[in-house]
């Protein structure tokens, strides 16, 4: 029964056998095809890679392309570079060794943290902690010799400022992600990061040598007179290029996190100060341009005090007689300048100041720019007079430098620039403020201040320095603080063919025995300009020459020589 029952099944099997076999072959074939197909795919891909991959160096991306573009000075000296720096980090959760022992060794290698701090890091159980960024190779190999597998080393791009704190306010700095957060690093951020442009270094207008001298001399004066800050600008008055600009104190951009908050404040472009008598040449030039002062011999009444309403304008060295325009400038007379300004009137004064850019934030690439303070709607006669000698208006030292550049380059205002002027960055079109004649005649007047007037200590033999001193009481809390002053010297050299403006400013200098108790600009900041000019003049291409000078015959006849002075 069972056999009978089994038989037809077997017959059926025999019938299906061929079908099953065919199916098996089918499947086998399919698998083989799949295998062959995959193999073909791999082979063709290999062939493709072999044939069509460009294995030359160029295709692999330019390894010489820095992660961020370089900043160089006008002569190609590197000011900011990106290097591959070693960083040392640790994975505390993967620690194999004894944390206590390792903490002691780490504290020996990197003493910036204590043993207890290292132990806290090692036992924290965090997944990743930086032990040291920007480590020197010696430290890296020493840390490697500790033999702890949880310590990892990595090379990552780091921004390095080879000149350390030089021009820190101009350069600015970057954050840990390599983005510029201040100065030109911030302004040029896109250009420095763009793959297409970062290969070529960006040339700034500054000359590192001049910058170093300016910082050195200003720093020395700042220390000598216990000033709380200082600012300086050297400007090419023909092109508006900033040759050097500094604000002290400054912080080292290599370690931007360390340093005082004051070091972040750019006094040259952000700080606005009443710059005092350095404004007087502007007032005289405005009056000459407006036809009010036709000769430096024009007389004004310079008696002991000038009373306007409830204010009385006084002089430190009163003439107590009539005086000429040349004498007003030479002895820095407030009374005389106030009268010239009053003749000029507020409308014309305001218009000249507007054309010189003194009513707007200073024109430069930096973002760190301060708003100027002006009399605003209260620009009456008293304000006109005080603005005439630099009080009641607060501008930045860079404003002053561009103003002097305007006055002595033939009368054309141009914005200051921190980018080198060359084929790609031409000299900007200026706007005329003063006539060429006024510009020319002012030369002798300012030279007179240095040869015979208040700025004698600014003279640098052979470099024909001209300029004007300025001492202004410092405004603090809305009042003039009699105890502190801001002293400024704005100089131009060489006066017979002006090329450069030098502005130096000291914030709150104290009198010393050497200055006989004086703290006026002629005593503390004028020598800075003298030293800067004497040291950088030849670097800037000015040859000292004792046989040349401005045309002094224009002013000397109008200076009365009295035996007392």
């Amino acid at each position: 029964m069972t056999a009978l029952a089994a038989h037809p099944e077997r017959v059926r099997l025999a019938g299906e056998r061929q079908v099953t076999m065919a199916l098996t072959y089918h499947r086998l074939m399919l698998v083989m095809l799949v295998f062959a197909g995959v193999t073909m795919l791999i082979v063709s891909r290999l062939l493709y890679l072999q044939l069509f991959t460009d294995r030359s160096v160029a295709a692999a991306g330019n390894p010489l392309l820095p992660a961020r573009g370089d900043l160089v000075d006008r002569n190609g000296v590197a000011l900011a570079r990106t290097i591959d720096a070693w960083s040392i980090a640790i994975h505390p959760d993967k620690l194999l060794g004894d944390p206590g022992e390792l903490a002691v060794k780490l504290a020996e290698l990197m003493p910036e943290r204590s043993v207890a701090q290292y132990r806290a890091i090692l036992t924290s159980g965090k997944s990743f902690v930086y032990l040291s960024r920007r480590a020197v190779p010696e430290l890296v190999s020493a840390a490697n010799a500790l033999g702890e597998p949880a310590i990892v080393f990595d090379q990552e791009p780091e921004r390095l400022y080879p000149q350390t704190a030089l021009a820190a306010h101009i350069l600015g700095w970057t954050d840990f992600d390599g983005r510029g957060v201040a100065g030109m690093e911030r302004v040029l951020d896109d250009r420095l990061r763009d793959t297409a442009t970062r290969g070529a270094p960006v040339a700034l207008s500054i000359d590192a040598r001049v910058q170093a001298v300016l910082e050195r001399e200003l720093g020395a004066a700042m220390a000598k007179f216990s000033a709380i800050g200082a600012a300086g600008v050297v400007l090419d008055l023909k092109t508006g290029e900033v040759m050097a600009m500094t604000s002290l104190p400054q912080r080292n951009p290599n370690a931007p996190g360390k340093g005082s908050a004051d070091g972040e404040f750019n006094r040259a472009t952000m700080g606005v100060y009443e710059l005092g008598s350095t404004f007087k040449p502007f007032t005289v030039a405005m009056a000459m341009d407006s036809g009010i002062v036709k000769s430096f011999g024009k007389q004004y009444n310079c008696s002991s005090g000038l009373t306007i309403g409830k204010y009385t304008i006084t002089d430190t060295h009163p003439f107590n007689r009539r005086c000429s325009v040349a004498e007003i400038m030479k002895e820095s007379s407030n009374i005389g300048t106030a009268q010239i300004a009053a003749e000029l009137g507020s409308a014309r004064q305001k218009e000249f100041l507007r054309k010189m850019g003194f009513l707007d934030p200073v024109s430069i690439e930096l973002n760190e720019r301060g708003r100027t303070l002006t009399p605003g709607s209260d620009w009456g006669e008293v304000a006109t007079m005080t603005v005439g000698y630099g009080h009641g208006i607060a501008v930045t030292p860079l404003h002053l430098a561009t103003g002097y550049a305007t006055l002595f380059n033939g009368g054309v205002w141009r914005p200051a620039t921190l980018l080198k002027i060359d084929g790609r960055h031409p000299v900007p079109q200026g706007r005329r403020v003063f006539s060429e004649d006024t510009s020319y005649r002012m030369r002798a007047l300012l030279r007179l201040v240095v040869t015979e007037g208040t700025g004698k200590k600014a003279n640098a033999p052979g470099y024909r320095v001209g300029g004007k001193t300025g001492t202004a009481d410092k405004v603090s809390g809305g009042r003039y603080a009699a105890a502190s002053v801001v002293t400024t010297f704005a100089g131009v050299f060489p006066m017979d063919a002006p090329r450069f403006v030098v502005v130096a400013m000291l914030d709150d200098p104290k009198p010393t025995a050497e200055t006989y108790g004086f703290r006026t600009a002629g005593w503390n900041v004028a020598p800075v300009v003298s030293k800067v000019v004497a040291r950088t003049g030849s670097l800037l291409g000015i040859r000292p020459d004792d046989s040349r000078d401005a045309k002094m015959s224009e002013v000397l006849p109008f200076v009365q020589r009295d035996g007392a002075d």
Binding site: L64, V77, P162, A165, L166, A212, G462
Partner: protein, 236 residues
């Protein structure tokens, strides 16, 4: 029969040989290409190293560091206006040595072989010949310094003065002494000490500088070479 059998073997050998040589060729090409890539990588590595070294050098020789050395250790000062010379005649006027007999005589012209005539002729034309009372032993010192500080941009015209100076018999030992002076650690330490004393007496820099200069000169008489031009220039 046998020829036919060998024919196929021959074919196989020929095809195999051809394939092998083709393969060898491509292998050779690949080797060369790899070599080229390796050299290119080396060039890149070298360029990267140059950049790293330049950065390191720039950082070590940063301007603030140089400034410290110049001002505090070497006590250098900026050249004053009198040290810049107008032209080669001003330079020649520093030569106050009286030409000796051999130089004045015509025989000297014949013996100067390299452009000798041109070299010697301008000497009598030097405008400062009348300084007869100049002591003879001071002569080489008075000749050489202007050359060191001269930034006058006319080397061709300067050549006579230079060449003439080399005739002085005392020239060679003096130059050697000066180089050894630069490498003398003791002396540079002394200069450093003198400079420190100078910065301490900072109230009147000009006066103290005058005081320091003779001190250095007394310790190392050869240094007078470096100091003299400043005085000579200032006097001009």
């Amino acid at each position: 029969m046998s020829a036919r059998g060998f024919k196929s073997v021959g074919w196989v050998a020929a095809v195999g040989g051809a394939a092998l040589s083709c393969y060898m060729l491509s292998l050779r090409v690949a080797t060369e290409r790899n070599e080229l890539a390796r050299v290119e990588r080396q060039i890149i590595a070298a360029k990267q190293e140059i950049r790293a070294l330049q950065t390191e050098l720039g950082t070590r020789g940063r301007l603030s560091q140089l400034e410290n050395w110049n001002a505090d250790v070497l006590a250098l000062a900026a050249p004053v206006s009198g040290q810049f010379l107008e032209d080669e005649f001003t330079l020649a006027s520093f030569d106050q040595r009286e030409p000796d007999f051999a130089e004045r005589s015509a025989v000297r012209l014949a013996s100067a072989d390299t452009g000798g005539a041109a070299a010697v002729k301008p000497v009598p034309a030097a405008p400062a010949a009348p300084a007869v009372e100049a002591p003879k032993d001071a002569a080489p010192e008075a000749v050489a310094p202007p050359i060191r500080m001269a930034s006058a941009p006319a080397p061709a015209e300067m050549a006579p003065a230079l060449r003439r100076a080399s005739f002085a018999p005392a020239e060679k030992p003096r130059v050697q002494a000066r180089t050894s002076l630069l490498t003398d650690a003791k002396l540079s330490a002394e200069i450093g000490a003198a400079a420190k004393a100078e910065t301490k007496a900072a109230d009147k820099p000009a006066a103290s500088k005058r005081a320091v200069k003779p001190a250095i000169a007394a310790k190392a008489p050869k240094l007078a070479i470096a100091i003299k031009p400043a005085r000579a220039g200032a006097a001009e």
